[in-house]
């Protein structure tokens, strides 16, 4: 019983530590700015790659810098306009929209 109790305390402490780190990271302005820049860059670049250069999403992904591997992306439609959404869970979520003749721009 005593060991189980101690384990629970350790688990709770670990959980609180992890939660604290997540809250601190999300609250860090520099990290959020960097995440926004990264997600915005990926959304814009891939949107142009797909909708201006007429390439597939799969062929565009290797063009991104290796450090951007953790930024997820998908094709989206917003009010009838094609675009690309890129996001880092919890930190940032950006979408670039394509306008024929004018290319892509971040929303």
């Amino acid at each position: 019983m005593k060991r189980t109790h101690r384990n629970r305390i350790l688990q709770a402490t670990g959980l609180l530590l992890v939660l604290g780190l997540i809250v601190a990271a999300v609250g860090d302005r520099n990290l959020r700015v960097q995440a926004n820049v990264g997600a915005g860059y990926v959304a814009h670049q891939i949107c142009s790659c797909v909708h201006v250069a007429n390439r597939s999403l799969e062929s565009c992904l290797p063009d991104m810098l290796p450090v951007m591997d953790r930024i997820r992306s998908e094709l989206v439609d917003v009010d009838g306009h094609h675009g690309v959404r890129a996001w880092i869970p919890v930190f940032s979520d950006r979408t670039a929209i394509h306008t024929p003749g004018l290319g892509c721009a971040l929303d």
Binding site: L65, T99, G101, L102, G103, C104, A105
Partner: protein, 207 residues
Amino acid sequence: MQRIDRVRRGCPPRPSPGSHWAYSTATTTLLAGIVGRADAEDAHGRAAFIHEALLDPIGAGDIVFEFDRAGHFLGGSHVYGRARDFARFGLLYLRDGVWDGLRILLEGWVDFVRTPAPAKNNGSYGGHFWLNLPPKKDQFLLFPGRPECVFEASGNSGQFVIIVWTHDLVIVRLGEMQTTNGNELNDSLATILDVFPERPILDGTLP
């Protein structure tokens, strides 16, 4: 990019004009903003102006220039086109701004862009073109041992339009090179240049 003008306001130029050189895409974007304001009220009008004044006359109408969400012309980046479109752009500069008898660029403009910008710490950067001239500190010589008249428009991650007056030649290289050594790429491009013989400079007449 939502509002490129916010970037402009955040980066005031500190040294006096002509006294200091520093490479900056934002500078090109500033100038593009001035061009954009000169002739149209919105992005569609600005795009139409670029097409009428530059791209359509040289047969490069498929090139797409991108704008931010507020309609500002980015200019310093995000220009998409095929290799042949960029080759036509280079050929326009090779022919001193004249296309098939029609003057597209101001007389003297090409000489301006291939003349080093006036600054003590600049040797190899002209009017937004890189020049094959002796570099200053923090610059590099593009193609060692090759003619000084070579100049190039250099894009992101290894994309080039290289203009070689002595060889009557334009070389276009597109594609990402994130995993390629930049010096090796330059050496390869110089090797391509060596394959072509020198030719007399033509006078604005298309071959």
